[in-house]
Symmetry: C2
Amino acid sequence: MTQDERVDGRHPEDADEMPWAEVTPDAARRLLVAAVEAFAARGYHATTTRDIASRAGMSPAALYIHYKTKEELLLRISRIGHEKALRILRRAADAEGTPTERLAEAVRSFVRWHAGHHTTARVVQYELDSLGDEHRPEIVALRRESDAAVREIIEDGVAKGEFQVPDVPGTTVAILSLCIDVARWFNTQGRRTPDEVGVFYADLVLRMVGAAPRA
Amino acid sequence: MTQDERVDGRHPEDADEMPWAEVTPDAARRLLVAAVEAFAARGYHATTTRDIASRAGMSPAALYIHYKTKEELLLRISRIGHEKALRILRRAADAEGTPTERLAEAVRSFVRWHAGHHTTARVVQYELDSLGDEHRPEIVALRRESDAAVREIIEDGVAKGEFQVPDVPGTTVAILSLCIDVARWFNTQGRRTPDEVGVFYADLVLRMVGAAPRA
């Protein structure tokens, strides 16, 4: 378990989502965690399957039982990360409450994930080009669904007169971009926790969409 | 000259700043451009000096005449990129005009650079951890100065009553972060030019600081 996975463990609502819990058996999960660390530290292309096996305390032969190629590891990491991001945004979009409340919750939980899991998030968000043409479309489709969840909340807010947004698709890209970049700069030694960055960013985003000030 | 360098050539105000013009002789500049492309494509750690020399159509021996190590190339790229970013932000901070006008200009020109030079900007912004302890402090100092230029404009806007900002340092980080992430998602095939993204982002940022709507 890496430093940033532990941080997230503090959030009770994520307790049922232990990082990589969906990856079994245990050896496959250990290899995945080792791959995330290696990709984040030196980049996908500079990492060998031997490096990954060695970080996981296993032999290269043991790795091949679980993953045929290095790209299969990246695809697995990318798919799980993007599915998690989509679940977070979809849950906020489908929640009860006003568009203002739902947008704030989407930003809070999306930012909390990118700050709390910044090592994983960097691999998920920055190594997309390392996926081959065969696998990239699957991930691009998940990204489009995430985008659609946020756009839906904004469109609803505009329709209800809560938001003033001249360009909904452009604003959607900007909001997701602001949240994603938290993974680049977030520092566990910094003055804010992942929760606090999420709350602060929710306020900034409500300003971006021209939400009426809350009482 | 890479695709993204050419895009920027369209802006007359940058005509005096041909990319890497400060790097001479020509062979040293060609190697630098090759290094940017290689680092962006496969990451710093997966790139060898042999790859870089070969991209530049030169021999490894010819490379060593200009750069002793791969890290020296990265340091040179990072220093020039960060000095350019600082010049852009400093020029906006020191300009005539209201805080609203100066913040809009800072965002427009900073975003235009990150979109127009997205390949370079990715290396400059994402490979910071690849610099050794000996060289990183110099770059961190340049980043602090960039941060200070933006913070200065926001503080001035708050003092003059133009901006409503509860947390100036946090908002400064968020604004720079929003602009920097343009380098990750910007696509020359997209619906907006670097100029247009800059104009759109300036409006979003003025909303973030609670600037009074302009007439």
